[in-house]
Structure formats: C-alpha cells, structure tokens
C-alpha cells in the first residue's frame, strides 16, 4: 500500500522556510533553462520564417551569405530568364535581383549598429507573400524613399513612418513600414535597387530571388544554372538558405544555455540533496513508525522520492511563471553572416515551459533518490529508538 500523498504535502508545508528556499533555487535554474531556450528559439525563428520553399535564391558560388556574393547585371538577366520562373499578371518574371549592403546607423539608445539595406526590384513584395506594408506605402522607384522593417522603426533613430533618415550622403523619407511575421526582413531597410546602386557606387547585385512555377522544378533549375558556363552561381531554396544562416549562432546560444543550465542544475541538486537528507534525518522516528505500521520499504522510497519531485516541480512551475514575462521582449544581436544586426523576439513556447518543468522534476528525482533510499533502508528498531 502506498503512503498517502497528503503526508508528503503536509510535510512540505510544515517546513515552509526550507521548502520555499529550495523551490526558489530550483525555480531560478528552470528560469535560466527556459530563458536561454527562448533566446535561441527566437533567433532561429527569425531566420527560419524568412523565405518560402516556393522561392529560389541565387548567389555567387563560394559565397556563404548575400553580403559576400556578387552577381553582375548580365548574370542576373540570364537567371531571371529561366523557364521555371513564374510570371506575374503583367507577364514579367516574378523575380527580384537585389542589392544587399550594410550601413551603420544609430539605435534609439545612440549606439551605432550595422543594418542591412536591400535594394529591391518592383516584384520584391509580390515574391514574398509574408512581407507586406502595414503602414504607409511602398517607396516609389527613382525617388529618395525607403520602407523600413517594423523592428527597425521600433529600435532606430528617425526611422519611423514619415521620418527622414540620413545615410550615404542623402536624406531618405520613410514612406512605409514593412512587416514580415518576425522574419529577418523586419530588421531590414528596403529601397529601389537601381537608385541604391548609384548611391553606393556599386553596379552589381548580390542575389536574385525568384518564384518558381512549380516547387518540384527546383532541381532542374538548380542543375541548369549551376552548370551554366556564363554564370558562377549557387542556387538554394529560399527557406533553406535562411535557416542555414541561423545555424552557427543559434547552436552556440543553445550550447551555452544548456551548459549553463546543466552545470547550474548540478549545484541545485546538491542543495536539494541537502534538504532531502535533512528531511529524512529529522523524520527518522516517523519512518520507523511507518515501517512498524506495515508500509513496505518500496512505499517509503516512493513516498520520499515523490516529495522531492513535488518540491522540484513546484520550483519548476515558479520558474515558468518567472519566464513568461520574457516572451515577446525584443532584442537584437549580430548576425555574423551578414555582419549586421538582426532583431528578434524571445519566444517562450509551451514546449519550452514543459521542458523547464521536466528539467526541474528531473532535479527532484536525482536530488531525492539517495535520501529516499536512505530512509527506506533504515532498520525498524534503530529508527524507532532514535530521538
């Protein structure tokens, strides 16, 4: 027969101070665990949600990011003319040869940071169904007008709708705010490719993004373009291209976070062991009584283990509660591939919260097992005799 659950709960309640301190310690560990997962998850999501499998992106062979790629106008013309490229209602190919550069502008806090400026062609928005102008209007080609990503508008000086932003010797009017569902376009400035080429004195493109008529035609397109002697190109699905970009940094954040959480958990387990050992020691007589009443040793082991897991899970839940406010906070970091800042929001998912509680419960199991075993293996007579 199992020992009633109420016995454990009352015991936890009876040692309020000790229970609270241990639970809070474990709560902080769970918080660190969830926090770092949310950080890595948010960063990854920003790049993962960028791009669609229906689109292909072409950059120069050997380049790892748009920034280090160069495609000449001639190359861009060849790429755009491929038969797999879908056509818009006007009959023109749904493709956008783009210029990608990085400029240094001031955050609202005053610190200068690198930001991606994308010179796009008229089809750029049609190609990217997730990206749309939520306020204002698209820039007009040929004029000193730009649209900015919503996170740029939020975080940078004079970058909101109607503001005038100065870079590269010109003053640009922000005519629209671009929103792209948390993808990396939210951290970009878009302008007219032709005009930006003149302004930056760079008569080459960095990439061509195009919509495919048929998703399955990607293989054929890729084969033809990559073997075309006129080009030095590599072709990727757009979504694959962007999620590859997140690889190193997200993995790094995750590894660092996991390392912190695991080492920290080790420290908390030492604490939990202490608490549970003390709990067992102070209840020696009770344990003896339970044994004398006929509860099995297994039941006692299970009971103490249960108590420890309840304590730790309680801590885990507090950790979740502490982690929830982190959700949605915007932060930014350097995206090394493009040498520019990418802003993203912390993403606390139900899965992460569950993982946090599970992690805490695991600490409870590890921290409770040895004391529970000690409790269960006490000889009855000896236990009853103790003070």
């Amino acid at each position: 027969m199992a020992i009633p659950v109420a016995y454990n709960l009352r015991n936890l309640w009876a040692r309020k101070a000790s229970t609270t301190l241990t639970a809070l310690g474990i709560a902080l560990v769970a918080w660190v665990f969830i926090f770092t997962l949310a950080l890595a998850g948010g960063f990854e999501a920003a790049l993962r949600t960028t791009g669609s499998p229906d689109n292909a992106i072409v950059i120069r062979r050997g380049g790892t990011a748009e920034l280090t790629s160069i495609l000449t106008r001639e190359e861009a013309n060849v790429i755009v003319a491929q038969p797999e490229v879908a056509r818009g209602s006007d009959g023109a190919p749904l493709a956008s040869p783009e210029l990608v550069v990085v400029i240094n502008i001031n955050r609202k806090t005053g610190t200068p940071t690198n930001v991606v400026v994308r010179g796009v062609s008229p089809k750029a928005l049609a190609l990217r169904p997730d990206a749309r102008i939520v306020r204002g209007r698209m820039f007009r080609p040929g004029l000193d007008e730009i649209v900015v990503g919503s996170l740029i508008a939020e975080r940078f000086q004079s970058a909101d709708l109607g503001d005038r932003l100065r870079f590269s010797g010109r003053t640009w009017t922000v005519t629209g705010i671009l929103e792209a569902k948390g993808s990396s376009y939210d951290s970009e400035i878009w302008g007219d490719a032709e005009l930006l080429m003149q302004v930056f004195d760079r008569p080459v493109y960095q990439s061509v993004t195009m919509r495919l008529d048929d998703r399955a035609a990607f293989g054929a397109l890729r084969k033809r373009l990559e073997s075309d002697p006129r080009l030095s190109a590599q072709v990727k699905r757009e979504d694959v291209f962007y999620s590859e970009q997140s690889g190193t940094l997200a993995a790094l954040i995750r590894t660092l976070g996991l390392f912190l959480a695991v080492v920290m958990a080790l420290g908390a387990v030492f604490g939990a062991l202490n608490t549970m050992y003390a709990a067992v020691a102070s209840r020696t007589k009770e344990i003896g009584t339970l044994l004398a009443l006929g509860f099995s040793r297994g039941a006692i082991l299970a009971s103490f283990l249960f108590e420890s897991v309840v304590l730790a899970s309680f801590g885990g839940l507090i950790g979740c509660a502490l982690a929830l406010p982190v959700n949605g906070i915007t932060t930014g970091t350097m995206n090394f591939n493009n040498f520019s800042e990418i802003a993203f929001r912390f993403q606390v998912t139900p899965g992460m919260l569950a993982a946090g509680v599970l992690f805490a419960a695991l600490m409870g199991v590890v921290g409770g097992f040895f004391p529970a075993r000690k409790a269960a293996t006490r000889p009855i007579i000896e236990a009853l005799r103790e003070a």
Binding site: T22, R60, L67
Partner: protein, 382 residues
C-alpha cells in the same frame, strides 16, 4: 583563530552536508567566472587598443572599401606619423566551423604600427620578402598544429577561389590581451590576384599619431578632407572602433549579467537553507557552549565563520577549476571569442562574491544562534 579548529570540527561532523554545500558553491562560482570571462574576453581587443592609433573606414559602413589613393593624403595630415591598411578577408579554413580572422595587410607598415605583435627577426624577414607568405598567431598554430613552411589553404568568400599561403612566421602578443588567433598575409598579393575592377581597394586605414591628444583634431581633419568624395570616411580611435563591435553584439552584456545574477541568487538561497538547517540541528550544542561561558558575540562569529569558511572553500574550488579548465581546454566558443581567458580580477571578484555569499547565508542562523535562550534550548537536550 584558536576557534578555527572548533569551526573545522563542526564542519566535519556532517561531512556529507559540508561537501554538498561546498560543491554547490563551487558550481556557482565556476559559472560566475565563465560568464564574466565571456564579457572580459569580448573586451580584450578594447584593452589591447592603443590611444595613439586611429582607424579610418568608409562612413556608410565597414563593408564599403576606400581607395588606395587616400594613403598619401592621410600620410600628409599633421600629427600622423604612420599609415597602414588592412582588408578583412573572411575566408574559410577547411570547414566553416573553423572561425578565425584573416587580414590582408600592408605588412611592413602594419608591423611597424603594431609593435605588440612580436615576431622573431628571422621569421619577420622571410615573411616580408615572400609574396605568398603568411603570419599566424601562436593560438592558431597550436590549435591546428601548423608548422613553419607549410601551406595553409583558405577558401575565399569575399574574394573567391582557393588561396594558398605559406606559413613563414608565428607571432606572440606582447600582453595577454593581444589576440593570438589571427592570420595575416600580404595585401599586395591579394591585390595583384584580383580582377582590375576590384583592385586598389582598402578595408580600413590605421593611422599612428604623434600623441594621443591629437585624436580628435586629426579625426576631424581626415573626415573633412574626404567629406565630399564618393567615398567619405569616418575616423575614430582604435578603442571606439573596437567598442562598436561589442555594441553590435547587442544586449549580450545585459543577458550575461542577468543570467549571472540568477545563478548567484539561486545558490545563495540553497546555501542559506543549508546553513539554517545546520544551525537548527545544533541548538542544544550551542546552548551548552553558552552555558560554558561562550559570549553571544563569539557564538555569532563561530556560526557566521562556519558559513564563510564553507563559501570560501567552495569559491576557491570553483574559480580554480574555471581558471585551469579554460587555460587547458582550447575554448573559443566556436571561434567567436578567440581570447577566452579567466583574468586574475575575475578570480578575485569570484572569491569576494563567495565571501559575501557566505556572510549573507550565515548571518541569519548566526543571529538566531546568538539570541538563543539557554534555558529553553537546554531543555531540548534532556
């Protein structure tokens, strides 16, 4: 001090508890040192920068090159005693995961401007005289097991193609803050290998000043000089230049501090709990000590001293492990932080933190013990 033995005996009485507490504090301090070292390592380049050096880049951003023709005009600016330049190469050695910096430099002037890069004289001579030679930091050479004279193939990303350099020299940093994980090769070689449209382009210029006081006027003069050119410049001190990289990393500083405080706070809670339990168990003993004539103050000192000793022991273990592990292991965080090294200040700060943790967790039980009423407490003994 004669009571140190008493404290030690008390600690040894509950060996398991003492050990567990010491370890949990050691873990906290280990993590504290790790996080702080991430921050101090980011700053290494800032500490290594020289106040008498300026960096000139394109005003739009580092991505845009400057023309080589600026060199002579920069050299003529009053107060400038040396000009050198470098291009970020951004290549890949064998695998994209092997991240380290490569710069194409105008070697003679660069080594003259950066006396903190120590190269043996004979190696320097061969490096300077050979077009395809390269110079690598001690850290890199150790990491990849390179030997002088061997070929180092680098896959270009900004400058396409495979580039083969011959390792002719190994440099060491004059101070520990100087990065020893960079590869330098000749800008001339890079330039001659490029198509004509990409030739004669410079990533950044470095200026040496006659005195650090000239930083502001010289920066102004330089930027004014090129203001109306197609490639306007932005000139700043080397320190400001390096700081801007850290600023670009975003809120890392804040995140690290946040995580660090959570860790320390968690362990304080855990330790406080243990200390309170330990004191509670010993109520009868303390009562006996008081009966024997131990003053309240002495009891306070004994209980608090116990907590302090445990914390310091844990702190010493934690910081010690951090200092040793990160020196032995080649820990560069995937190449993001080349100079990952626990500074002596970090160790000192860690020990101080351990002491504070000890006092914080010991003070409550110590006061409780000191305030203990003898009669009531002794009754429990019987």
């Amino acid at each position: 001090m004669k009571f140190l033995r008493l404290i030690a005996v008390n600690l040894l009485r509950a060996k398991r508890r003492t050990t567990l507490t010491v370890f949990s504090i050691a873990v906290a301090l280990f993590l504290f040192c790790t996080l702080r070292t991430v921050l101090t390592s980011f700053d290494a380049a800032v500490r290594a920068s020289d106040a008498a050096r300026l960096v000139v880049r394109h005003s739009a951003s580092l991505v845009f090159p400057l023309p080589l023709s600026y060199r002579d005009r920069l050299a003529q600016v009053q107060g400038v005693t040396g000009v050198s330049w470098a291009n970020w190469f951004g290549g890949i050695y064998q695998d994209p995961k092997n991240q380290f910096a490569q710069f194409a430099i105008d070697a003679p002037s660069y080594l003259d401007l950066y006396p903190e890069l120590l190269v043996p004289e004979d190696q320097k001579r061969t490096f300077l005289s050979e077009r395809t030679a390269c110079l690598a930091g001690r850290g890199l050479v150790q990491k990849y097991g390179w030997k002088i004279g061997q070929q180092v193939p680098i896959q270009g990303t900004i400058y396409p193609g495979e580039w083969r350099f011959t390792l002719r020299g190994i440099y060491e940093g004059k101070t520990a803050d100087v990065d020893e994980n960079t590869l330098y090769f000749h800008w001339k070689y890079l330039n001659e290998s490029l198509p004509p449209v990409r030739q004669s382009q410079v990533g950044i210029y470095i200026l040496r000043l006659a005195s650090p006081d000239l930083a502001t006027p010289v920066s102004r003069t330089v930027d004014a000089m090129f203001e109306n050119n197609v490639q306007p410049t932005r000139t700043e001190t080397e320190k400001a230049f390096q700081l801007s990289f850290i600023a670009m990393m975003g809120n890392i500083q804040l995140l690290m501090s946040l995580l660090g405080s959570a860790i320390v706070f968690a362990i304080v809670l855990v330790t406080l709990n243990t200390m309170m339990m330990a004191a509670r168990e010993r109520i009868p003993e303390i009562a006996v000590l008081k009966t024997l004539g131990f003053s309240d103050r002495l009891i306070l000192t004994l209980v608090a001293g116990e907590a302090l000793l445990v914390s310091l022991l844990g702190g010493a273990i934690g910081t010690g492990i951090a200092a040793i592990v990160f020196r032995k292991a080649d820990f560069t965080l995937g190449g993001f932080i080349p100079n990952f090294r626990v500074l002596p200040e970090t160790v000192g700060l860690g020990l101080l933190l351990a002491a504070v943790m000890g006092i914080l967790s010991g003070i409550v039980p110590a006061i409780q013990a000191a305030r203990l009423e003898i009669a009531g407490a002794l009754r429990k003994v019987v």
